[in-house]
Chain length 145, copies 4
């Protein structure tokens, strides 16, 4: 098996950093927290509330996209440290089930940690354990001194 | 060449319908309008403002995702009529350039109009005409009477 | 957690069926076998030889695509039975590492087993256990009696 | 509009280069030619024959993948010159219609020509002008002197 990547930031540190660089996530009323960081993986939880719903009362596509994207960013930060300039270059998402309001857990896993590109896999589950969306995201990493 | 699909709703009708079924788009302060519908195509414009920005002052990924998704939905509605239950099953997006606030135009084109699946291509450009993102989106269509 | 899907065909049955409906896989000199089927999952092995290589001696992109696609088809067959008409509608693949000739293992997992669409995740590893590619594939399933 | 990229190689030059670096394309009996190069675009034609077919007589998925991938590579070569080390990092393909044997035309367009990543769009049409597949592909470009 691959040598698992070693985290360099804790879940609390990543959460704090996200609050710092994405103050708007709070401004917009989102409630996202990094729950756990383990080698090669991060668990990010969104409390999906009124503002994240579509007509019919299910969580909107852009909300799931945002959660997948933040999950990917969190696992990358946790493993390469504070690189605010990492940017998403590609995100592919499959919507599997319409999720109801409540906690949604994104488990983001590093598939490849390259010098220039990091590829991640993100599975989003609801509180009943059903998968509601699955994404793969690629981030471009600026050259590191 | 393919026989182009024939629109069954005007740009104004699609805009009005989006307002009706997605009142939250307005609640959230988004300003999206369907500008034009032509055979196989719809042009949707977002006025990207303060609320759509990330740190650094560029338009956020979830905003571009939302614009691509609404663009796809608009072109589908325009060609098959009011089918509120059409749902996104897959969306793949490439981010090409960080866009600044201002108008962003999504040109959504139908690639395939099937009985069960509609596949669309969405190019998002800024006011200078540069591509800022490109997406393909698949919608699942409920069985039609 | 999701109730895991229950297989209805064994690995040997799926292999035999693939040989029957894809005789060309053998004609073209490919050596693909379904090794194992477990609930929600199938393991498919390709012996990557001379004919699958690109200049430089690494396994070609179309070969990895084919392996991902066959992996997805195998796990679907194993869980819904002989549905020759299932067709790929979308496949998204990330290339992570250039693989050398030798055995390549595709682990295909069902993410969603819907009535009309089946979404799968495929991880391809080399004999050293490194991930060489990762894909998600959607198949459209014909209406079942 | 974007300043269109300026080609630095002709269609004949790109074809000759592909033959040189991918001798296997010929070994495998494929017949692919670069027909035309224009600013930001390349047209690549495959004569899909017996060897490219699936059961039922339609062109196989791996063949369409390969055509999309070669199309992307051709348009990149045409615009940045002989960079054999450019590698595909991501390819997303939607299958729209089962194509019959005969000529298939891939029109590959550059969406972004970055220093490290090139993003392309590839539309594959049959001789009747129907779209049979649509792909987006990202290539990673080695640092240029």
């Amino acid at each position: 098996m691959q040598t698992p990547a070693t985290p360099v930031m804790s879940a609390a540190d990543v959460s704090a950093y996200l609050d710092e660089v994405f103050p708007q996530v709070k401004t917009n009323g989102d409630d996202i927290r990094v729950i756990e960081v383990t080698p090669g993986r991060a668990l990010v939880r969104l409390q999906a509330g009124e503002k994240h719903l579509r007509p019919g009362g299910t969580v909107s596509g852009p909300t799931l996209f945002m959660l997948a994207d933040v999950g990917a960013y969190a696992v990358i930060l946790a493993h390469i440290g504070r690189v605010a300039l990492a940017v998403t270059t590609n995100l592919n998402i499959n919507f599997l089930k319409k999720p109801e309001p409540g906690p949604l857990d994104a488990t983001a896993t590093i598939l490849k940690l390259g010098k220039r590109l990091v590829v991640t896999d993100i599975a989003i589950g609801d509180s009943g354990g059903d998968l509601v969306a699955h994404a793969t995201a690629t981030y471009s990493i600026p050259p590191r001194g």
